[in-house]
Symmetry: C2
Subunit: 306 residues, 2 copies
DNA sequence: TTGAAAGCGCTAACAG
DNA sequence: CTGTTAGCGCTTTCAA
């Protein structure tokens, strides 16, 4: 008792007077834990990530976990290196928005027993937990909405990223048209290169719209939609009279635009919270969940552009 | 020689077959270095940060440094904890967009000899290196532009953040008006609370504009400008006929908006590159620079809203 | 209940 | 020029 009191005093002396702070690197070396979660994203800009990050931090904080961000810029090599770096620096877990080709690295991390949860995408056939919006359903509902509104030539602008979420969106577009007795002409699909600049996309759109002459266009990602608005503005096209516009994934701009743009929203908050929940389960902080591969319901938000 | 060859073989065996990767935590504990730079920002969303981050990463990468991001959410406690955490985890240097009250922490880091560069703001009287736009000049040029355009009642919408960049912008507004023989009525200034929601700002604007009846309004930060556009849209105000709009700090929305919004741009790329250069100087990778407290020239971009 | 000692994985200094 | 050793600052184990 007495001695314990003296110790406590000593600790207080050291801690307060000397301003002692434990060296986390030493702690980490010894314990193998760091109380840090690595969040790897493709682009650090982008409204999807911006909303995600805030919510994730808020969810992790009460449990004493810190979040550090790293971005791959959709570059596989960088993504691999980032995973290795964070792994070597003993992060306790990963939250990853994967880029194409990352499947192997992710399996490696999992096999090493590191907690990991994917967001926004996943690799079919692998067993890593994931949370994302139901892309197929979202696009399907969007296209169906346009069909219901009697649009005849519905075009699709997508990109060439080799990831499931984009493939699902394209597949949903085609199949929904077919289910409605239309055939999805490849002439109505513009597949842009992912590494195009905004200008290149706008230029591509110009030729595409002129040729295809659609009365409605669906953008399969919000950055494509933003480029689309730039083109529409430049070309002086009237929305929705001359061209209806629908975009997958919302963006700050869309609600402020005139006219407001109809979108398929992702349940960003739910995705973030669910991902954190799954990660906590993996970390052993919460009991394991049965369903760890989840597709959440999208939300079709009707605005003025359709 | 022979032995060296054998060693090399051994290394290759271990490295390739066993998949050996040095434990960076141990390296860090031993050497005190990590080849990691901590980038602390206020909000991880925000176009200013988004552009900054990409450029900084690109500049650091060739030198073998990785960047990790942390956000304070403009919360001092969190900022302090973040600095401590990164410090304890042996980051080699800091790039910080400070929040108010962070001065003491920053001095501590400096006194510990850790390389550190501030961006976007600084604390007068402290000697930490910094790079930011010349806020005074930017705002002054913006207001002068409105005066030259014969606007009579120029309002200012700012916030209550206690940081030099906001103070400089407000001071420039007032002094530029006075230099032109106008007096800056406090009735023409709306100071919003930083932690207001967008809705609260929009509501505040509604009452403010109705009362003050300005013919031009200057938003002192881009998120205020975005809220302003929402209000303008709601209220059906015609820009620039009924109300001219100018915003400090550009945003993706402004060039796409109808009408396009005149802005004072920050030289984001230059800020990022200069900050990295200063940090490299502090790290001893480049020779020391004489001027390590820099204010870069802003750029007034005239568009349709004024 | 408390203090001493071992060792996490690496690099630096040191002896062979 | 190589191979061994000490020790970075902690936590954990073990003996007192």
């Amino acid at each position: 008792m007495r001695i314990s009191a003296r110790l406590a005093d000593k600790i207080r002396e050291v801690a307060r007077q000397e301003g002692y702070q434990p060296n986390q690197v030493a702690v980490s070396l010894r314990t193998g834990k760091s109380k840090i979660i690595g969040l790897i994203v493709d682009t650090i800009s982008g409204s999807f990530f911006a909303s995600l990050a805030g919510i994730i931090e808020k969810e992790m904080e009460p449990h004493g976990y810190r979040v550090i961000y790293c971005s791959t810029g959709n570059d596989l090599n960088k993504g691999e290196e980032l995973i290795r770096m964070l792994y070597q620096h003993h992060v306790d877990g990963f939250l990853i928005i994967p880029t194409s080709g990352m499947a192997a690295n992710i399996q490696t991390v999992r096999q090493a027993g590191k907690p990991l949860v994917l967001m926004d995408s996943y690799f079919p056939g692998t067993d890593a937990p994931y949370v994302l919006v139901d892309n197929y359903r979202g696009m399907s509902e969007g296209v169906q909405h346009l069909i219901d509104k009697r649009y005849q030539k519905i075009a699709l602008v997508c990109n060439d990223v080799d990831l499931i979420q984009m493939k699902d969106r394209c597949r949903a577009y085609t199949e929904t048209l077919e289910q409605n007795g239309r055939n999805a002409s490849p002439r109505l699909i513009l597949k842009t290169a992912f590494h195009s600049t905004r200008e290149e996309i706008v230029t591509g759109l110009e030729g595409f719209i002129r040729k295809a002459k659609p009365d409605a266009v669906v953008f399969a990602a919000n950055y494509l939609g933003v480029a689309g608005l730039e083109y529409i503005k430049k070309a002086g096209i009237k929305v929705p009279e001359e061209l209806a516009v629908l975009c997958f994934d919302d963006h700050e701009i869309f609600a402020l635009h005139h006219p407001e743009i109809t979108v398929v929203q992702q349940p960003v908050e739910e995705i973030a919270k669910t991902a954190v929940h799954l990660l906590f389960a993996e970390l052993g902080l919460k009991k394991p969940v049965a369903d760890y591969q989840l597709q959440l319901a999208p939300r079709l938000v009707l605005r003025q552009s359709t």
